[in-house]
């Protein structure tokens, strides 16, 4: 067996992670911070971890990694329970142990030839984009514009943005405080009447910005996106319309999370026809042209 054939070996860690904190936010949202140093060391934006929520629920739940601090070994997740698994996870308190399998998957890998990244995320699709913004904040090769949507209050402090962003409606006046601190401009959308948010969907904000850019700028733009399927489809449609590449992080039900069961497939359009790709290890990030062709 040659080295290339072994490159994947040992890339995912299984850790009994100690809960550092569990914060609850309006709209049944939670931010869980755990100590999982091996996962923290290797996590990249768009990668995820497969967590055991409770010993009585052995099937794991996949959650995107929102922050990973290689220095203190912490990993952070933002989630919204849908059913009994994540609802149990939400009852974990500091010092409890949670089994964390991660990091898993190919995350975002922005192309330096397109230095302007338009990040579009909604709801629990925010974590990978948040992680990307934090990772690239000091990377001179890239500039980011982050557009976030939510139907419940954002689980982060927001503030009035200092500068306006060309093309965006004045109603989108607020930005995320952390992102401002990292000098990453952001704008928000919500149909829930949240203060400082554009009243509509986040792809509408993206369209407003894209349509104000010149052809020269568009040639330097790439989109990254994560969120509900309807949002991803709308974002893919924008990417096709404005002829910019888009990388989309998708979700599918999972069993193993490591490529073993072929349970988490998504149909991908390739030149040779449809290929069933595994979201866990072939994704979770796929090219919009292959996922939702024009």
């Amino acid at each position: 067996m040659n080295t290339e054939a072994r490159a994947h070996r040992g890339t995912i860690a299984l850790e009994d992670a100690c809960v550092l904190s569990q914060q609850r936010f309006d709209g049944n949202q939670f931010i869980l911070r755990v100590r999982a140093p091996r996962c923290a060391q290797r996590a990249t934006p768009g990668s995820f971890a497969h967590l055991t929520c409770d010993t009585s629920i052995p099937m794991r739940r996949p959650l995107s990694i929102m922050r990973a601090d290689a220095d203190d070994g912490s990993v952070e997740f933002l989630y919204k329970p849908v059913g009994h698994g994540l609802a149990q996870l939400a009852t974990r308190e500091a010092d409890d142990i949670v089994s964390v399998l991660g990091p898993i998957g190919h995350g975002f890998d922005p192309d330096p030839k397109r230095p302007m990244i338009l990040a579009v995320a909604g709801g629990v699709g925010i974590p990978p984009v948040y992680f990307l913004a934090e990772t690239l904040r000091d990377d001179a090769r890239f500039a980011l514009l982050v557009l976030l949507g939510s139907e419940v209050p954002f689980p982060f402090p927001t503030t009035v943005r200092d500068e306006s962003i060309t093309g965006l409606p004045p109603s989108a006046s607020h930005a995320i405080v952390d992102l401002e601190r990292w000098h990453v401009p952001s704008a928000l959308a919500s149909n829930a009447g949240l203060e400082g948010c554009y009243p509509g969907h986040v792809p509408d904000l993206a369209r407003a910005w894209l349509s104000k850019q010149s052809g020269d700028v568009l040639e330097r733009v790439q989109i990254v996106s994560c969120g509900p399927e309807a949002m991803l489809r709308a974002t893919a449609a924008l990417a096709h319309e404005f002829d910019v590449p888009a990388a989309l992080a998708v979700e599918e039900f999972m069993a193993c999370g490591v490529g073993g069961c072929a349970g988490c497939i998504v149909p991908i359009h390739t030149p040779d026809g449809i290929a069933m790709k595994r979201v866990c290890v072939d994704g979770p990030v796929f090219d919009a042209r292959e996922l939702y062709p024009a």
Partner: protein, 309 residues
């Protein structure tokens, strides 16, 4: 002193009675992504079900959690036997463990053709999958009829001199009769059991959750069913010296030992890996402890030793 876990199965040396089950570990290298996991800890690894030609498998959703288990409807997605042999087998480390193919077909001829392909490959043995509940032709449709099961096994027998293992379905009235038919047709071993057919409905959309409407139930939910089937099949196979890979919901050394006592010579781990990717070493350690505590020299001494009332 010999390793108490070491055993032979159809003449093949196993480092442990643990077998990693088809469809749960992809084509053999997937779980090695997990730090601390090694195929060398398993006696054998069974690759994903393989047809002559590539198959895309079923549309999503393919997996769904159920009480004490899960449903799957993968639909035997595979790249076809030629690709498995050309592109995948060379990437496997046959020094670490034994690799078994899982042979599928829509016709008896296809089963035989796939077997013939793997006969001419480094594969150590072949499991004949006459028990998949997730495909329209072949699979459980063949496996529920002892006559057809025997024909499939006989056709595969002609195509190889490597060990063949008939994988039996629990979705039939009399599994022991089927086991006998497969043994008479030339099976060297039996795998008992494949998944139990099941279904789940999304009451909001009023549609089945799984893309294929129905699926196969695995995990602890089926363990008592599997244990009894192994015991029933052992009544036929044991006296003939035909070994059984017992499987269905085994998650711990305790569960594994139950299956050995019921008559299994090796035990399979599938769904348990999804719960704990490092379960194999724990099961090995637990069996070792049990043997030591009971003064038993080797795993072989446990097989079929349940004392019925």
């Amino acid at each position: 002193m010999n390793d108490p876990l070491a055993t032979t199965f159809c003449g093949l040396n196993f480092s442990s009675p643990v077998v990693l089950l088809s469809g749960c570990v992809g084509f053999g290298e997937e779980y090695t992504r997990v730090e601390g996991f090694s195929n060398a800890d398993a006696g054998a690894v069974v690759l994903k079900g393989t047809y002559l030609e590539a198959r895309p498998g079923n549309p999503p959703h393919r997996v769904w959690e159920s009480p004490s288990g899960m449903l799957n409807a993968i639909g035997l997605q595979n790249p076809g036997a030629a690709t498995v042999i050309r592109d995948i087998l060379p990437r496997l480390d046959f020094d670490e463990t034994r690799f078994f193919a899982n042979v599928c077909g829509s016709t008896i001829e296809e089963y035989a053709a796939v077997t013939a392909r793997f006969d001419d490959s480094p594969i150590d043995a072949m499991e004949i999958n006459i028990s998949c509940p997730n495909v329209d032709h072949g699979g459980v449709e063949f496996g529920n009829d002892p006559g057809v099961s025997a024909k499939v096994v006989a056709a595969c027998r002609k195509a190889t001199s490597k060990p063949i293992i008939a994988k039996l379905s629990p979705n039939q009235t009399d599994i022991a009769t089927n086991a006998r038919a497969c043994i008479e047709a030339g099976a060297d071993a039996l795998a008992v059991i494949n998944t139990v057919m099941g279904m789940a409905i999304d009451i909001t959309t009023r549609r089945p959750v799984l893309g294929n409407n129905r699926g196969g139930l695995s995990g602890p939910a089926i363990r008592p069913i599997a244990l009894l089937k192994v015991h029933q099949v052992y009544q036929e196979a044991g006296p003939l010296g035909i070994p059984i890979i017992g499987q269905g919901g085994i998650c711990s050394a305790h569960d594994a030992i139950e299956f050995l006592l019921a008559g299994a010579s090796a035990i399979g781990l599938g769904t348990a890996l999804f719960y704990d990717p490092l379960v194999v070493t724990k099961v090995n350690a637990g069996i070792r402890d049990y043997l030591r505590e009971h003064g038993t020299e080797s795993v072989g001494d446990l097989i079929g030793t349940v004392e019925l009332r």
